[in-house]
């Protein structure tokens, strides 16, 4: 069972920012600079939180995780994009 999350972060140091960004790319799709959309199993959510805790500085940085519910369709539909670049959805089988 996966749930969908929006993960946003404010990191105040370039080195940590790059590392957090690299980490986030393993867990979800980048929707904006420092905003990621993730669809995670409960185990991966725990792993993500632990990994973020390792990378960020608890005093200066901040991470926000918004739970968008278990329904992927409604989670995507409830976000409205204006302007450029709507990321495409991926599910099921991806054939390349």
């Amino acid at each position: 069972m996966r749930r969908c999350y929006l993960v946003c972060y404010d990191i105040r140091n370039d080195k940590r920012l790059r590392r957090v960004h690299k980490l986030m790319k393993a867990y979800g799709e980048p929707w904006q600079y420092s905003v990621f959309y993730c669809s995670l199993r409960s185990i991966d959510r725990v792993r993500l939180e632990l990994a973020l805790r390792e990378e960020m500085n608890q005093k200066e940085d901040q991470v926000l995780i918004v739970d968008l519910g278990a329904n992927e369709e409604s989670a995507r539909e409830s976000s409205t994009f204006m302007g450029a670049g709507v990321p495409e959805a991926e599910s099921g089988v991806v054939v390349i």
Binding site: K25, Y27, S39, L40, R41, L50, S91, G92, V93, V95
Partner: protein, 573 residues
């Protein structure tokens, strides 16, 4: 399970590992006071010259030959010859009047009732730690449990009751580990959140133990109402199954994001690793060693196939496979009667599913066909040897494929006629329908092999199919009931809907094969089918076909271990 070394991570175990991360950093070795004179003093002690300064020692490993016990203490505060162990737990303490642990942060906060007390298992663990410390010469005046979810430190009284309880549990545990694997618990509140639940399948196995099943999944005896399996299985794993088939594509990793690039080196796709459920590589595709390592770390199975879909190799993580299951498999399948039982169960389920598919989709099925297939099923039921069974299975297949083309709609009659003229042929497939069937069966074999490996079974030792080098006999056995349900059904619907057309195939002297675009179209239809949810006729919950395969592989393992008396395979109506 721990005795066999089987372990599955879950959200709870990962959380626990996170809580322990700090406390588990081993600190400098200390020797017990009994050994103090023999060991060189550590640097710390030389600096302050006071060996009795209180010090917190993390990850202290103690072993006792007498008790036959080794433990890693999370933290021990050592002051001279007294030691106080502190055990870290990720959850919450027990509140009087509660029987099960409340859910974690993801659920609503439980009401905090008065009087936190340690869980009995935690008490026993601490008791054993006390015994070990005392054995190595320390005096243990008190002990603590630290519950991380509430940041609460509980003091545990060290007395004889604690020591007795710990010793009694230790003896009981040793007795348990000597025998065979005990049967799963019945309706236990601890099962739903246990990480080993998909291996143990407590409800499903108890359900099968208590009702011996007829072949078509009807229960003979009425199971007690409370034994209908709770739906413990996650209903869907909406991950993505990645299939790479374009010539010259490369797969690498950037950190832990999977990057797919084409011949020119431009990025085709970036995929988050957490979303990937499995990876299939067809033909000339490059996968970097780093990527393979990362897939192995995250337990993503990778299947390497020829461009025609034949499974060449499979990489699955060297996870802890249970040797007990494999030993049971060799022992049980060596007995002709047991091998026949498994072969019979898969054959009858397959013929039943073939009959259902024909009756559902054939526009003008001759009236005697369902009866003939029913006859084959009855004959298979009575078969005395596996050879005889193969005969009945062959008869049923002949009848089934003779009428197979009748399932194609008006627009694709021509393809159907080609198939009719050729019949079912494999090497090489002469026409598009045969090509799609062969390709579908290959994919299904791969899925079955992966499912068996996950259930710690050896794919090459089967019952209905003879064991030959490089032939995944048990995968073919497991796949039989699913051939009509998945591969045949995909072939019929893909042609009928016009997803696959003449243009998707290449006919050469070496037979008919799918083009790139054809494979893409096939995988779209196949993926949809695999994600279709069906209701299990016995357990009554809905699972996707992909998880059905896994469930059946586990049930075969349970049957081999003698946990389940009869086998029943999925049949649809």
């Amino acid at each position: 399970m721990t005795v066999e070394g089987v372990f599955l991570p879950s959200a709870d175990t990962e959380q626990g590992a996170g809580v322990h991360r700090r406390v588990d950093r081993p600190s400098e070795a200390v020797a017990g006071p009994a050994l103090r004179d023999k060991k060189p003093t550590s640097k710390l002690e030389e600096q302050d010259g006071d060996p009795d300064r209180p010090r917190a020692v993390r990850s202290l490993v103690l072993t006792s030959e007498r008790l036959g016990l080794t433990a890693t203490l999370d933290l021990a505060q050592i002051e001279g010859t007294t030691a106080v162990p502190v055990e870290y737990r990720k959850g919450r303490p027990r509140r009087s009047g509660q029987s099960v642990e409340p859910a974690d942060e993801m659920m609503e906060e439980p009401r905090l009732l008065p009087g936190p007390e340690p869980w009995p298992t935690d008490r026993v663990q601490l008791g054993l730690q006390v015994l070990l410390l005392e054995e190595s010469g320390y005096r243990v005046p008190e002990a603590y449990l630290y519950y991380s979810a509430e940041k609460l430190k509980l003091r545990v009284q060290v007395d004889d009751a604690l020591r007795q309880q710990a010793l009694a549990e230790l003896e009981a545990a040793k007795r348990t580990s000597e025998g065979l694997r005990p049967p799963p618990l019945i309706n236990d509140p601890r099962c739903p959140r246990c990480s080993l639940q998909p291996i143990c399948l407590p409800d499903e196995i108890n359900h099968q133990r208590l009702t011996s099943l007829t072949i078509d999944g009807r229960a003979d005896g009425h199971p007690k109402e409370e034994l209908t399996p709770r739906k413990l299985w996650p209903p869907r794993d909406d991950g993505i199954h990645v299939v790479l088939q374009r010539e010259g594509v490369r797969v690498g990793v950037r950190g832990q994001a999977v990057r797919v690039t084409d011949k020119e080196g431009s990025v085709v796709r970036d995929l988050p690793l957490a979303n990937i459920e499995s990876l299939a590589v067809l033909g000339g595709v490059q996968v970097s060693t780093q990527a393979l390592t990362v897939f192995a770390d995250h337990e993503v199975p990778v299947a390497f196939m020829s461009s025609a879909g034949r499974l060449v190799a499979m990489m699955d993580p060297l996870g802890p496979t249970s040797a007990a299951v494999r030993a049971a498999q060799v022992r049980v399948l060596d007995r002709p009667d047991k091998a026949l039982e498994l072969a019979r169960a898969v054959t009858i389920a397959k013929i039943s599913n073939q009959r259902t598919l024909l009756m559902r989709n054939h526009a003008s099925l001759p009236g005697r066909v369902p009866g003939d297939l029913q006859e084959c099923m009855n004959a298979a039921e009575r078969a005395m040897t596996v050879d005889e069974l193969r005969g009945h299975e062959g008869n049923a297949a002949a009848i089934y494929f003779a009428h197979f083309a009748g399932m194609f709609k008006e627009g694709v009659k021509e393809l159907g006629a080609q198939f009719d003229a050729n019949g079912r042929q494999r090497r090489p497939p002469p026409d598009p329908v045969n090509a799609v069937l062969s390709f579908g069966y290959s994919m299904l074999t791969n899925e079955c092999t992966a499912a068996l490996r996950l259930a710690s079974l050896e794919p090459t030792l089967g019952a209905l199919h003879c064991t030959r080098p490089g032939r995944p006999a048990l995968s073919l056995d497991l796949m039989e009931p699913f051939r009509p349900l998945i591969a045949d059904s995909v072939a019929v619907s893909a042609f009928n809907r016009g997803e696959l057309t003449e243009g998707h195939f290449l006919s050469t002297a070496a037979g008919c094969s799918l083009t790139d675009a054809g494979r893409k179209a096939f995988f779209a239809a196949y993926g949809r089918r695999m994600d279709t949810e069906v209701r299990h006729p016995v357990f009554e919950y809905r699972l996707s076909y992909r998880r059905m395969l896994m469930l059946h592989a586990r049930l075969i393992a349970a049957w081999l271990l003698g946990e389940v008396p009869t086998l029943a395979f999925l049949t649809t109506r």
